[in-house]
């Protein structure tokens, strides 16, 4: 066995090990601490977990790509909110009045297009100005949020369409609609990143941007496409979520970027780019959702949840580092 194979295997499997640990812990602790008669590992509860993972999970898939690209997108929360507004508001536009329920696909299309455009704007700025993605998207996180408020002042934007709600609440083969979307997105992005030229180029660009430029990869458009995918997925997440809830507050989606990044990092994607896996991100999303749900299940209150999630994130980072250390003869830099 080559040296490092064990630790590589450990790293790959770490997030799943963590998930299993969480399941065991919450099942056992839940027996003593929970008020619920139902077990934590109840099938329905796990299916709900998947469904509830969808909003963050769908965005996390996009974030994985941009982070592999050695970029980051802090504006996903604002994109999420703005797309949601377009989704809900467009259904009430007089132009579409004659469409009946056919307004639904139109509204979906408009919302997704909004996400694409916002992502493209981020990508274009990163590409053309050469400003770091962190700064660009920190700016647009504010700017897009400003647009959200411009749209409808401080009022929530609402439109309840029960056909839409019924579709979003439906289940098919036992899985909820949002779960299907999450699984489909995960599969698509997994295919993109592991099987296609674009995906492999994404790793190269994140690993060594200069090398990619020198090799003739059109890095600018490449990164822009990834921002567009992320914007699109943020919009898709909004489409899935707001189809069911029907109303968006202007500050909805705030802090989503933090949760999404947390999930992606838990899944092992390197913040320094060039490495990461979509499947592990999926694991990261589940791990976070389990943690939140589990802590509540055993009766922890908000402050404890905050404290624990913060510390776990640091602990995971620490363990990841320990697994990467080769020994004391390693270069000390």
């Amino acid at each position: 066995m080559e040296p490092g194979t064990l630790s590589t295997a450990l790293k790959r499997g770490a997030i799943w090990g963590f998930i299993i640990l969480e399941l065991i812990f919450f099942s056992v602790a839940g027996k003593y601490l929970s008020l619920s008669d139902k077990a934590f590992m109840d099938l329905d509860n796990m299916l709900l977990l998947l469904k509830q993972s969808a909003p963050i999970g769908i965005i996390a898939m996009g974030m994985t790509i941009v982070m592999i690209n050695r970029n980051i997108d802090l504006s996903v929360g604002a994109t999420f909110a703005l797309s949601a507004i377009v989704l809900l508001d467009s259904m009430t536009w007089p132009v579409f009045a004659g469409l009946g329920d056919f307004v639904i696909p139109v509204a979906w299309g408009l919302a997704l297009a909004t996400g694409l455009v916002l992502g493209a704007l981020n990508g274009l700025i990163v590409w053309k100005t050469g400003v770091d993605a962190f700064i660009v998207t920190l700016g647009s996180m504010l700017g897009y949020r400003g647009l959200v408020f411009m749209y409808n002042g401080e009022q929530p934007t609402s439109h309840l369409n029960w056909t839409l709600v019924d579709f979003a609440e439906a289940d098919f083969l036992g899985l909820h609609t949002p779960t299907w979307f999450l699984l489909a997105v995960t599969a698509a992005i997994w295919f993109l990143m592991t099987k296609t030229v674009h995906g492999r180029n994404a790793y190269a660009v994140g690993d060594n941007r200069e090398a990619a430029v020198n090799a003739g990869i059109r890095v600018g458009p490449h990164m822009m496409i990834n921002f567009m995918i992320t914007g699109f997925l943020a919009a898709l997440s909004a489409v899935v979520f707001y189809s069911e809830s029907g109303s968006v507050n202007p500050n909805d989606g705030e802090l989503y970027e933090l949760w999404v990044i947390t999930a992606v990092v838990l899944g092992g994607t390197k913040i320094t780019g060039g490495a990461g896996s979509v499947i592990s991100t999926f694991g990261g999303v589940l791990a976070i959702q389990l943690l939140r749900k589990g802590l509540v299940h055993i009766g922890a209150n908000t402050e404890t949840v905050n404290l624990v999630i913060g510390l776990i994130l640091i602990a995971v980072l620490f363990l990841d580092r320990q697994l990467n250390i080769k020994g004391k003869e390693e270069l000390k830099v």
Partner: protein
């Protein structure tokens, strides 16, 4: 084959950077099937010229002509499309990816739905790797390869496309002799196929071995082109630096002092084992071996960058433990590291601040940094090492590779160390500066410094060392005095063959 038409031609190229006129009306052409050397001092503009050709820099003025048609190179992609392949001076690889993906970066073979055609990719790659006679395969992760092998991956890129011209910018800087032979074979093959080759190197013996013509740049200006067969080293050198060079070894005789550094049974994991040697004041010890022999790791251990797993280090007769570079510096050890960009310099800082970085705590006026003393130190070493820069305020990142290296050397010389370790001190340095640095090393020894020189260039080791340590695979195979060493027995030793064992 149309003999008279150059594969490509550059006409009147001008390129300025803020404060520097890097290229001043340079014209130059390469014929198909020709190996054309580009020579010049550090900072003469060779890499810049090639970057213009490769679509990385846009020239301020001038034309690029391919196949008798003027072209505008807007990007590396464009250059590639025009059949120009660029093998860079600095490694330009994605470490997390496989060898195959790196070689075909930017042009991975495709199937439907934009999928990568892995089968074709590996087949083609393995065919190329076979030609290069390397010991790794297409699926290896590039980050796991040695620097030399990474360089071979870089070179492999030249074979992927139907190139019209291939540019090699100092490809041999980190290659072993065996790998160089492979490289030269590759170049011969390309040449036979009618590809025009531009070859940049500071190593005269290579230039005279493989090139057909030599063009020389000085201070961004074109100085002329000579047929290799009709010229000699002196003439080229004179064109490059404008004077003759005295390459004879400075025969300064001096007394050997006390043992400054003694190492006993030093080991560090799998990197090296059971290393023992001693260096006296006034002595230069050369460490020679193949890349990966563990020489750099010994230096790093002595400098407190790695913890030894066994063995003892004595300084001035006292047993010492060195846990950090700060410890090492406090005890009078200096290390000129192997990787100047990664380890030697803060590229975004100016020349002066880089030079005085290790002693910034000592150069104080009250609680503040004494900037006057810093400038004085900088001026002293700029003159002594002939560093070409507009002034101390210039960012180090804007200097040419060779001048950057001189800043690193100046930085450590100004510490007045009692033990000076230099790791590949002249990698990428032009002949003029190289001999200056060699003289400097001898000179330092004469002034009572103990010097360790790690080098992969045999002439360099032979030239500067009082005695030589030959390493193979983490162990000392043999030590030679300068009298007993020959090229043959040295090569034997570093290949793992000792006289005792061979016998």
């Amino acid at each position: 084959m149309t003999e008279a038409i150059p594969a490509l031609r550059l006409e009147g190229i001008v390129k300025t950077f803020p404060g520097v006129r890097a290229l001043d009306n340079v014209s130059f052409s390469v014929m198909p099937g020709e190996v054309h050397a580009l020579m010049g001092e550090n900072g003469a503009g060779k890499s810049t010229l090639m970057k213009v050709l490769g679509g990385i820099h846009r020239p301020d003025e001038g034309r690029i002509i391919v196949n008798e048609k003027p072209v505008v190179m807007t990007s590396p992609l464009e250059a590639k499309a025009k059949g120009i392949v660029f093998i860079h001076q600095e490694l330009s690889l994605a470490e997390e990816l496989s060898v195959a993906e790196n070689i075909y970066l930017g042009e991975l073979p495709r199937k439907s739905f934009g999928r990568v055609d892995w089968k074709t990719l590996y087949e083609r790659t393995n065919a190329i790797l076979k030609k290069l006679r390397v010991g790794f395969d297409a699926k290896a992760r590039v980050g796991d390869l040695s620097i030399a092998n990474q360089q071979m991956v870089e070179i492999a890129r030249a074979l992927t496309v139907d190139a019209k011209a291939v540019i090699f910018d100092e490809p041999t800087a980190s290659l072993t002799d065996a790998e160089k032979v492979v490289l030269f074979d590759v170049i011969a093959d390309l040449k036979a196929q009618g590809v025009g080759i531009i070859y940049i190197s500071h190593r005269m013996e290579e230039i005279f071995r493989i090139t057909d013509r030599i063009s020389v740049l000085r201070d961004g200006q074109y100085r002329g082109t000579l047929k290799t067969a009709e010229t000699n080293e002196d003439e080229i050198t004179q064109l490059m630096i404008g004077r003759k060079l005295d390459l004879s070894r400075n025969a300064i005789h001096h007394e050997l002092g006390d043992v400054a550094l003694k190492v006993e049974g030093l080991s560090c994991g799998t990197f090296f084992q059971d290393i023992s040697f001693e260096v006296r004041r006034g002595e230069v010890v050369g460490f020679y071996g193949l890349v990966g022999a563990g020489r750099t790791e010994i230096a790093e251990t002595l400098f407190g960058l790695r913890e030894p797993t066994a063995g003892k280090i004595y300084l001035e007769g006292q047993e010492t433990r060195i846990h950090s570079p700060a410890d090492a510096i406090a005890r009078g050890i200096s290390l000129v590291p192997e990787d100047r960009k990664g380890q030697g310099l803060v590229l975004g800082m100016n020349c002066r601040d880089n030079m005085t970085l290790p002693q910034v705590d000592d150069l104080k006026a009250g609680p503040f940094v004494a900037e006057g003393s810093e400038i004085a130190i900088f001026d002293q070493y700029r003159d002594r090492l002939d560093i070409r820069t507009p002034g101390w305020k210039q960012l180090v990142g804007n200097l040419s590779g060779g001048n950057q290296q001189k800043i690193v050397i100046g930085k450590w010389l100004s510490m007045h160390p009692s033990v000076l370790i230099v790791d590949e001190p002249t990698r990428g340095i032009d002949v003029g500066s190289k001999s200056e640095i060699h003289n400097l090393i001898r000179d330092l020894a004469a002034h009572g410094y103990a010097v360790i020189v790690i080098s992969s260039e045999m002439p360099e080791v032979l030239h500067v060392s009082d005695w030589i340590v030959a390493m193979f695979s983490g162990r000392i195979m043999r030590t030679f005095t300068s009298d007993e060493v020959t090229e043959d027995n040295l090569i034997q030793a570093i290949s793992g063959i000792t006289p005792d064992k061979a016998a």
